[in-house]
Symmetry: C3
Subunit: 343 residues, 3 copies
Amino acid sequence: MNTVVTAPGAVASDSADSFTRPPAWPHRHLLDVDVLTRPQVELVMDTAVAMAEIVARRRPRSDALRGTGVTNLFYEASTRTRVSFEVAARHLSADVVNVSVSGSSIEKGESLLDTMRTLESLGARVLVIRHAVSGAPYLVAREFGGSVVNAGDGRHAHPTQALLDLYTLRRHIPGGSLQGRKVVILGDVLHSRVARSNLWTLTAAGADVWVCGPSTLLRGFEAWAATGAGGDRRFTVTSDVAAALRDADAVMALRLQQERMAAGLLPSLREYAARYGLTRERLRLAHEGCLVLHPGPMNEGVEISPDVASGRRSLIREQVANGVAVRMAVLALVTSAASRADA
Amino acid sequence: MNTVVTAPGAVASDSADSFTRPPAWPHRHLLDVDVLTRPQVELVMDTAVAMAEIVARRRPRSDALRGTGVTNLFYEASTRTRVSFEVAARHLSADVVNVSVSGSSIEKGESLLDTMRTLESLGARVLVIRHAVSGAPYLVAREFGGSVVNAGDGRHAHPTQALLDLYTLRRHIPGGSLQGRKVVILGDVLHSRVARSNLWTLTAAGADVWVCGPSTLLRGFEAWAATGAGGDRRFTVTSDVAAALRDADAVMALRLQQERMAAGLLPSLREYAARYGLTRERLRLAHEGCLVLHPGPMNEGVEISPDVASGRRSLIREQVANGVAVRMAVLALVTSAASRADA
Amino acid sequence: MNTVVTAPGAVASDSADSFTRPPAWPHRHLLDVDVLTRPQVELVMDTAVAMAEIVARRRPRSDALRGTGVTNLFYEASTRTRVSFEVAARHLSADVVNVSVSGSSIEKGESLLDTMRTLESLGARVLVIRHAVSGAPYLVAREFGGSVVNAGDGRHAHPTQALLDLYTLRRHIPGGSLQGRKVVILGDVLHSRVARSNLWTLTAAGADVWVCGPSTLLRGFEAWAATGAGGDRRFTVTSDVAAALRDADAVMALRLQQERMAAGLLPSLREYAARYGLTRERLRLAHEGCLVLHPGPMNEGVEISPDVASGRRSLIREQVANGVAVRMAVLALVTSAASRADA
């Protein structure tokens, strides 16, 4: 008679894995991806899979954050990221409050802290913050009693974007692993927090990362490449689009940050599009099944052509959809760390 | 002994009516009223009656849209219509997200579509859109996977306003039918999406519609009147206020769209008010019980005098209240069509 | 054998207290504190204690306002007060709608009423209103069918702020009573609705209130002090900071309303800070345990130094936290009066 026995040994063999996996999520905040170990990144990915199942339901609702105050504090205009966090928090039954501070009245450091303290006293347990100044979320996290999630700070970091990009790539790359895969980050690297955070997670996942753009939009990256993106993880910096795209498995086009670009870095939008835009012709240099990503919002016809953006290999819409599940995972994980810290 | 018997025949006689009534709502979107058949308009009215009963409850809540993402995407400032849709969607237990795009950054066609795709990927199943460009909701509906509801596009259409006006008129016109009743649309017809949508529904309901205003604000309407508003339905165009108001059963004053009016169409606000403002004196030309409507927001003292706006025959506040029930009906109907299309 | 018996007499002795306490809250609106009797203020305080217990729960939720429409209508930008009312109303399960009218389009009287009527027709039963014009909430309350709560009108009044200040002071002043305690209101008194409302509640609570600031920012207050703040309740007006702070039990620093200050009232911010800023040195003149309050948002380094703002005696964060409970109490009380008026 055959029976299935759950032997103590099963637990033991499972727990072998826990050697490389954290017993619990230790980070009360998510300010950037550079503090995440590989097992921690895996934990985000696994949690996001579970969250995606909730999102797919007819009534997407979990009780995980019921009664928890989540405040979106946005000092830069954003539709995509703000709504994504709002929807993610609502799916977890959190009490969501939106606070937008208009660009014209961007506040100085001290009043950012004053605002944070006020929102904490009003019941915020998670503060999702976007700010034009690099490092602003770190300043806030030093004093906030709950969890701070960085939703993009200046040119510095956009950790949930990098995590959702990784999640999306792994669901579509043949075999599900980025180990040894060539991934190109193309465009206005200099002003891109998305590029910085992705460099970290993609190299950590074993990808062969190429960073490509006009030399004026790559300043400082060659020096960074020489030292490596975290430990000894190397990446390649080039202004040669053909070299970058050749045999690429995935390419991520970046938004040209016209609003952040000081005059003189580019000759013209037209020339930029002609030389660095991701077109169907250029994409032929890459692998046949080369995946296409873009963090949005797009300048279609500038850094990416409309046919590529809506083409068969484009994962752009799926990036947005996956963002909800990944942010649900992040919200659930950081609050689990916060509540353990309380105990 | 008299007894009331519910005979099978009662059902049979009811179902005779279904010959002229659609078995189900076929429109996944509501972009304008011009695609609605008369039975479909009746279905909106009947559904709105049922919704009004929910609104009247101490805790106005139905489960009809629980778990359904409804996003209000407003490219023009609006308090009344945005809050009306927000309240309507909440009463149906939908998950409501508000997105306002400030007038200064009105986006061009492509990025409107990019925004739509993003909101769809973030879970929007209904997109309620207001846009300064006529036709923008049609562009969006061509690609959106869920339901698009037009909350006002340029000078073109405002279908939920026309439906709530019809609903309000029929509840107050003696006998409940507009057949043969004289209804006047008075004022800045040229710039009014409210006038265009109302012309359709009012003539469809059999009303004798008169359109009245200064000739500069009627351009193009005489030609339209000659061809008829949908099939052979005629209406009258005139600049003669006395002729228009004489024996009228209802008059709908339009907001003077100062923000849309190019210089030179009017001599002055004062003269406009003196010649076309709906005053108590002018109203004496109409039937004694003539009903007064206005889509809001009002320029009191310009197109309507304060005493008429708040007078005994004014239905202005009831229009606003009925708007919630009518929009609940529209949200419920379009999503029922969308879910059948999925099946 | 000892038993605990709940005798009818217990009820009788409880009801002895009702002699000085109103049997029910009579005010449908809260426009200012000047109509509140002392027992009514006590009822707010007691209700706020009960609400604070709800706020402290892991899932802070009461059913008190379920199904009740609460609309925040803000004609001035505000994070703190708007979010505080939003959180308070949500904790009571109300249906909250936020309406912000940008400063650039501040509407004139008539359209304020038009907006109010629209929001009422859309289901608002409580209207929380902030407006730059003193008296605007009174205008609205004359016609609104539900409850109006003043969230700050011009220089006139900010009743919920005064109530939360009183609540906060009484929880920390030794013995719990302000009778005979010296409380200083320091700074830009002229432009402060917070000062005006606090003068009323603090003198009513028996405090010895001192109002202190540059003489240009005290205009009119000496005459007011001579007649008394409500009946014969006296307070002291001075520009002598040392005299004001000497032996003070509590000091409330006011925000310097730079945006409201006509040129010429002050020589410079630096000189203002030097002469009237609440610094650690100045605070040494007060009682050792002198409590520090500020209604926020702070200009740190101007009217208050950062070390005082975050010092051991500062109640500033607790003011914000208590604001939620006090506003819950106010919302519950005014709606209880409104529903009795309906009955």
